[in-house]
Amino acid sequence: MTTTSVRPYPHIQKDTVDKFPAPLLYIGWEDHLMFCAPFCLPLPPTLKFGDMLAGPLPGVFGAHPDFAKIDWTKAEWFKSGKAWTPDASKTLAENGLGHKDVIRFRTPGLNGLNGSCN
């Protein structure tokens, strides 16, 4: 559908990738609702997926007592809700991640504070 307007409506796409220092990636941790929402991070496409896990993520999710217990080899990943297997040795771009993609991870056995999904 198009926006109905009295004269032609302008195409103003505010959040195209060229306006950011790096493409945005959204990341959520399943069953850990103590973090109220998934996060939004600008991450260079050349960043290796494994480096993302070791670098930025502790600063983002480290406040949760479960975080230190994560075994990343057992994490299950989802991209746009579908099961997905990233390669930790490849970059975000090589893993097929682009601007405004959304990924989530599950950490089996780690289900939040006392298993409450918090």
Binding site: T3, S5, V6, R7, P8, Y9, P10
Partner: protein
């Protein structure tokens, strides 16, 4: 629990909101007018373009050719915010109510001179439509203008004009009846002497530049129409048949005095802002004033006969005086 708190003297952390303090200084208490007016319009980061005006932002200073470094310079000297506005108009309506009541209970309308009655009905009652146009323009200026300092009084003035239209209607019913009110509407639609004025009003309704509308409505038309109707014609009828009509048009007389203060101040500030504004305002005034004079001539003639020319000269001179004060006329 109740504790007597009146006895506590505590020092406030600040006197007013930061955006007000930035204008008046941090140590001053701000008036309710200032706190309710200054900077209250959103000015940044609008989310979507209007589907009804995709070329502009929701509030957009470029909807007029007039430019201001700070649109909040256009303060209302009456300092009207909603509370003081309604208090003021409630007093005026109370007076008007008492006057109408006086006219009706003393039978002043029934005993009113018939020739004067004819003049009054023919001249005043079609003006309810002019006021209705002014009401629509007030809404426009409020909606599409920039900065609450000026958009706020534009709506107040528009609603005042609706009040004028309703008082005129009521006078039509007191001096005449519903048939007279309908006849006046017919004259507004068809009678040759009303057509220039109707054209004028309809032409203002489609103006795109809201400040030009301000000039066409308040400066060119109302300044002369109110002076003609509520001074010249009023005095003539008074002399002929006593103050019955004056009583029923008192609201308009008071309104004219009140709103002129605001119109003059706004003009003066916009003129002094920069030479381009001054030139633009002069151009608009020249255009609309000439049209207003042309539109009012046949009506003055109809109401005042041979005296009409002198009356219109006085009306124009009064406008000139106002324009000189505003810096628009040497």
């Amino acid at each position: 629990m109740h504790i007597d708190l009146r006895t506590v003297n505590i020092e406030p952390l600040r006197q007013t909101f930061d955006h007000i303090a930035a204008r008046i200084g941090p140590d001053k208490q701000a008036s309710r007018y200032l706190e309710g007016t200054m900077d209250v319009q959103a000015a940044a980061n609008f989310h979507y373009r209007p589907t009804w005006d995709p070329e502009h932002e929701i509030f957009d200073a470029t909807r007029t050719a007039i430019t201001m470094k700070d649109w909040y310079a256009l303060k209302d000297p009456r300092q009207l915010y909603y509370g003081s506005y309604t208090a003021s108009r409630a007093r005026m309506q109370e007076t008007a109510e008492a006057d109408f009541d006086f006219v009706e209970t003393r039978g002043l309308a029934d005993s009113y001179d018939d020739a004067a009655r004819r003049t009054a009905l023919d001249f005043y009652i079609p003006l309810r439509h002019v006021a209705w146009g002014a009401n629509m323009n007030g809404a426009s200026m409020c909606a599409y203008g920039f900065g609450t300092a000026i958009t706020q009084p534009c709506l107040y003035q528009g609603m005042d004009q609706l009040g004028v239209a309703q008082y005129l209607t009521r006078m039509g019913l007191v001096l005449g009846d519903q048939g007279e009110v309908q006849a006046a509407k017919q004259a507004w639609m068809d009678a040759p002497q009303w057509q220039e004025l109707r054209r004028y009003v309809e032409d203002t309704l489609v103006l795109k530049d809201w400040f030009e509308m301000f000039v066409a409505q308040h400066v060119a038309l109302d300044a002369m129409l109110f002076a003609l109707a509520y001074t010249e014609v009023d005095q003539a009828l008074n002399a002929k048949a006593g103050p019955t009509v004056s009583l029923m048009t008192r609201f308009q007389t008071e309104l004219f005095e009140d709103s002129s203060k605001w119109v003059d101040a706004s003009l003066k500030i916009a003129t002094a802002e920069n030479p381009e504004n001054k030139l633009q305002l002069q151009t608009w005034i020249a255009h609309w004033r000439a049209r207003a004079v042309k539109a009012l001539q046949p009506l003055a003639q109809q109401a005042l006969g041979a005296d009409s020319e002198a009356a219109l000269t006085r009306v124009a001179a009064r406008l000139d005086t106002r324009l000189v004060k505003a810096g628009l006329l040497a």
